[in-house]
């Protein structure tokens, strides 16, 4: 082998090595920034089963956990955002009383997504309904369309936001099912915080998941099931 060939091989080896060293940290950072590279798929449908019999009257732990996780102020004025709230119910005929948490029901056919002019309201393949804060123009039509009053409009400038939870003045927002936690394999903050384990979170598309097994055996309903929205959140004991 002559010298020229050796030199050429050497040069190529060094170049490839240098390129690898140059690119690798970038790739690593890119990976870190994007988290899982695997796209969400409709093999999963995230959902919740809420046991109203266990939901204690006056307990607000899920609401507080949501506020803390998502950086909400916790204010209760009509212009403050409330992603999850406790509703007290009393049957008008029988007088039976109960209490339950209400939030975005993550519908399969969400009216908010249908009416959004820019497509800012969207449903992920795994059933989580979100608002893209870069596309939302703040028209509030989704708030008019939502049957569950699940959405809030950001009425003033925000401070001390959480890096994982984008929010912005002049845009509409609602429960994200703690998508930033779910994507890391964690539970939504409300489900984790409930002292009575009344919020069961899981994959409705997996027949072997705890939530699927439970909704097969106990009576549960969707709120305003008459609307045909196929909500991801179901209630037991209502």
């Amino acid at each position: 082998m002559n010298d020229t060939n050796v030199q050429r091989r050497q040069f190529l080896k060094t170049s490839v090595g240098a390129a690898a060293v140059a690119i690798a940290p970038g790739m690593l950072l890119f990976d870190m920034a994007h988290g899982k590279t695997e796209a969400v798929s409709n093999k999963v449908r995230w959902g919740m089963l809420i046991d109203t019999a266990n939901c204690a009257d006056g307990c607000n732990d899920c609401v507080n956990a949501c506020n803390k996780e998502n950086g909400l102020s916790g204010g209760l004025s009509p212009t403050d955002s409330q992603w999850i709230r406790k509703i007290e119910l009393k049957d008008k005929l029988t007088g039976r009383e109960l209490s339950l948490p209400m939030m975005c029901q993550h519908c399969e056919n969400p009216p908010c997504v249908d009416v959004c002019p820019t497509g800012a309201s969207f449903g992920r393949a795994d059933g989580i309904v979100l608002v893209d804060k870069h596309l939302c123009i703040g028209c509030r039509y989704c708030m008019m369309a939502c049957p569950y009053k699940a959405r809030s409009f950001v009425h003033e400038a925000l401070h001390d936001q959480k890096p994982d939870v984008p929010r912005g003045k002049g845009t509409v927002e609602s429960c994200t099912m703690c998508v930033h936690r779910v994507d890391k394999g964690l539970q939504p903050a409300c489900a984790e915080a409930c002292p009575n384990k009344s919020i069961l979170f899981g994959n409705l598309n997996d027949p072997e998941s705890e939530i699927s097994r439970k909704i097969r055996t106990v009576a549960s309903i969707q709120v305003r099931a008459d609307l045909g929205l196929n909500t991801g959140v179901r209630y037991q004991g209502l």
């Binding site: 209760l76 004025s77 009509p78 212009t79 403050d80 955002s81 409330q82 709230r85 406790k86 509703i87 007290e88 119910l89 009393k90 049957d91 008008k92 005929l93 209400m102 009216p111 997504v113 249908d114 009416v115 959004c116 002019p117 820019t118 497509g119 800012a120 596309l135 939302c136 123009i137 703040g138 028209c139 509030r140 039509y141 708030m143 008019m144 369309a145 939502c146 049957p147 569950y148 009053k149 959405r151 809030s152 409009f153 950001v154 009425h155 003033e156 400038a157 003045k169 002049g170 845009t171 509409v172 709120v223 305003r224 609307l227 209502l238």
Partner: protein, 394 residues
Amino acid sequence: MANLSPLRFQTRLYYVLVALGGLIVLIGLYAAHMMEQHGHIITGMNNQIVWGTPHVFAIFLIIAASGVLNVSSIGSVFNKPAYKARAPLAGLLSIAMLAGGLTVLMLDLGRPERVIVAATNYNITSVFAWNILLYSGMFAAVVMYLWTMMEKRMKAWSKPAGFLVLIWRFILTTGTGVIFSFLVVRQAFGTAILPPMFIVISFAWGMAVFHIVQSSIYAWNLKILDEYVQKRMRNLMGLFVIAALYFVATYHLTNLYFAKQTEFEQFILVSGGVYPLLFWVGYVLVGNLLPLVLIYHPAFGKTRSVIAASLLIIIGGFSLLYVLIVGGQAFPLSIFPGYEVSSSFGDGFIGQYSPSMPEILLGLGGVGIAFLITAIGIRVLDFVPREIPKTPLK
């Protein structure tokens, strides 16, 4: 040049009015600027009443913009000479009010600077998105129509253009009604009667606006409106008012028959405070009964009565929209039918709303825009009706 103009405005008064209109527009823009800077916290709107006074103004202007074109359609499509002479003015008014209404809607957005996103990211299932096309198409259609009427060489095309405008405005007002009738869960909305109701209402409101503008122009130019024309247009407006009232009555009567809707009707017609008051006094009495007396009673029916009737119809229109839009949201959503509900988010309770100054000023700014476009339009172009009087001169 001046003596060639068909107009003999009282120049000083004209400039004062234009300056006043400009000032109202500026104040409206300032209000919008404040809303953008501070956020909607400075308005009366909240998470329950998400659409408020700006929407009342905007929807009034958009509905009237469609209805005023009735004058054009009767002229160009149905060949009535009295209306044909007025078609260009109606077209100008339509563009003016559409511009005013859309500006208000746009400036009320949470992020008005992103309005372009509505064009770049288009959601085909959204009736709002359809309306973006309908509104811009309307501008184009009316401008084209005006061109065919004002350019001699294009005259032959004015009938097909008028026909296009006729169809387009029907679809446009249907689209405006559908914004509400697609809201299946809101008890005030979610009914297919709203689009046709909006169309009929638009005839009455559009005619009322037209009467006021026409009378003002004639008064300024020291012209006298032909009695025959006055009578025809006045009676037609009366007919539209009756037809609109019929639709509104049908809407409420149908609701009253449904057990699930009676609570809502009880609220909006009887117990809801400002809403029943505005409905019965503002809409039914001031917006319908009084104008009908002024139109049809033999003791009235002259120019002043017609102007008064038109103003009252407009006041009635604002009242009706306030009751429908704001009152319709104030009544709580029925999330758990059969249950009494309460929460920290206003569930089960009547939503509170009082219009704030920035909202009102923004709405008035929209009216100011419509006024300015009209005033400048009739000054620089030939929009004033010219005709040979049918009534013999006394």
